[in-house]
Symmetry: C2
Subunit: 323 residues, 2 copies
């Protein structure tokens, strides 16, 4: 690909909070990158205007549009087939947004869009620890829980382009309600940063008389990071929070394995900063819930890409075929 | 295919209780079929001897081996890649059985093997109500719960050939223990004939003073069939059993949809004899647990193939490529 005259791609990762973007060359090197908040614009066109304002000079520094193969976009509820974002619970723009055509019009470049978690999975497959794997699943443990499923070396899109919404699968019947969807007991309500915070509040309330370093923080300060800091100091309740979270995540991973029999599951996102505190109970619970044929076979690993990089690289990879 | 000199295939479906088999022509017509009990032989070679004894005359009636493209086999825990049956909880033969090579040796014909539920899904795709579909899931609601997942027109095998064990996914954390696997709360423990029977016993025990037609049957006579017969006579507890079963099955289907986004889910097996009594609560619960993008999109249908036919046809379809 390095020999073609289109040597660069734009990669854009639209997240619930932040949109990260950059210029990627055909070797998967991010030459420049930046970010803007996602939800500050009332409508998608204004958001694209601001993106363009920052990206246009970056494009020009690489010789202008003629050197670009296109724009690849990862977005929550992004649909590869239609190029639209549909009913994304975490975004301000409601209904169906024709994001790819709006961008294509503004940038004057071919634009492809997919689910943000799918883009990250492509990034892992091309540049990360899933390089060379044909069957794997990536799970993003961030503010929410995203997923990208790779089968036979291709992102699983499904009949209508929306496959891979594993954060919304039910793992605790009748459990916590998800504020965005109204569904009870979904993985995202537990194994996300938001979920860990909620677990912390629950556990502290359940044991009002138990000492815990977590009580030194206000409710607003309780995050997966502060829980981690208390846990490594040996705090019992903080450790129990990660065990609980890992137990639920492990059960969900067992379910996913019995669906698609992957070689590996790649975890990334903020919660993975907790390292073994989250990984050990996850693997233990996963193995305990697998049937014989799957036991001790499936690798569970942390991504070795920086989160923003995986998403930008994966998004840009969507358009390399256009060269 | 009708023009080739190999005009016939043997299709064999090894089930937990019964093995069904037949001679299939290249148009998907089953010319002859028969069945034997699966678990009456101490070892797999004796089982194959008996199969051969019945099949050999059938093969000869179509002009002998030279007219046959091969033998296709569906079996519980069957692995397409290796041709082995591995640790099947419902079979007498333990460990890893090299079924495809044993059959190939005995029959002198190329033999391919896959999971029995996968074979049934191939049957649905080629000859049943999933004809022309690229993305669908079949769920067998029989003694156990089997599944075959089709993605982009191909059976999902996964990294090691064991994908699609949806009956073993967990849907009720801490629920009923599965006697074969030791895992708690799996779909098979509820949405199978065995599960319905267990639910019946549970409900009758929970309400010892409630009248029910089900009390006219001994515990041994309580089957999904007798529960159905009581339900259509308006028995409250019998109806509650199907509602409970459908609610759990519907939640599980929602999870599967959020994984692979299929066009349809095809149900077959004994439980589907209950018709709307099982279908209505299943669809209602499924829709209630889907996120917006999947709602009112995915068809849930009963197979229009006879169960034995789907499995034999699907198994035979494995070897048509060999022509």
């Amino acid at each position: 690909m390095a020999e073609t005259k289109h040597s660069f791609a734009v990669g854009i990762d639209i997240g619930g909070t932040t949109t990260k973007f950059g210029i990627v060359d055909s070797n998967g090197v991010i030459l420049e990158q930046s970010r803007i908040p996602t939800n500050q614009h009332e409508n998608a066109s204004d958001f694209i205007e601001e993106l363009y304002r920052i990206l246009k000079p970056m494009i020009d520094r690489q010789g202008g549009e003629k050197n670009f193969v296109g724009v690849g976009v990862g977005a929550p509820n992004g649909n590869y087939y239609s190029g639209t974002i549909e009913y994304a619970p975490n975004l301000k723009w409601k209904g169906i947004i024709p994001m790819a055509s709006l961008m294509q019009e503004k940038f004057g470049l071919p634009t492809k869009l997919t689910n943000d978690a799918n883009a990250a999975a492509v990034g892992e497959m091309m540049y990360g620890c899933a390089k060379g794997m044909k069957h794997f699943i990536t799970i993003t443990l961030g503010t929410g829980v995203g997923s990208g499923i790779v089968i036979d070396g291709k992102i699983l899109l499904g009949h209508d382009g929306f496959a891979g919404e594993l954060g919304h699968t039910i793992i605790r019947h009748g459990g916590r309600i998800h504020k965005g969807t109204g569904v009870k007991g979904t993985l995202e309500a537990y194994a996300s940063a938001t979920g860990v915070r909620e677990t912390a509040i629950e556990f502290l309330t359940q044991e009002p008389n138990a000492d815990s370093l977590l009580r030194n923080y206000s409710i607003d300060e309780l995050t997966s990071q502060t829980v981690y800091e208390c846990a490594i100091q040996g705090d019992r309740i903080a450790n129990k929070i990660f065990e609980f979270t890992g137990t639920i995540l492990g059960e969900a991973l067992a379910n996913f394995i019995m669906f698609s029999s992957p070689e590996a599951i790649v975890l990334f996102g903020g919660l993975t900063n907790a390292g073994d505190l989250i990984l050990n109970p996850t693997i233990q619970s996963m193995e305990a819930n697998l049937i014989q044929v799957f036991k001790n076979k499936v690798k569970v690993m942390f991504s070795n890409l920086k989160e923003a990089d995986a998403a930008i690289l994966g998004a840009s990879a969507l358009v390399w075929d256009n060269k």
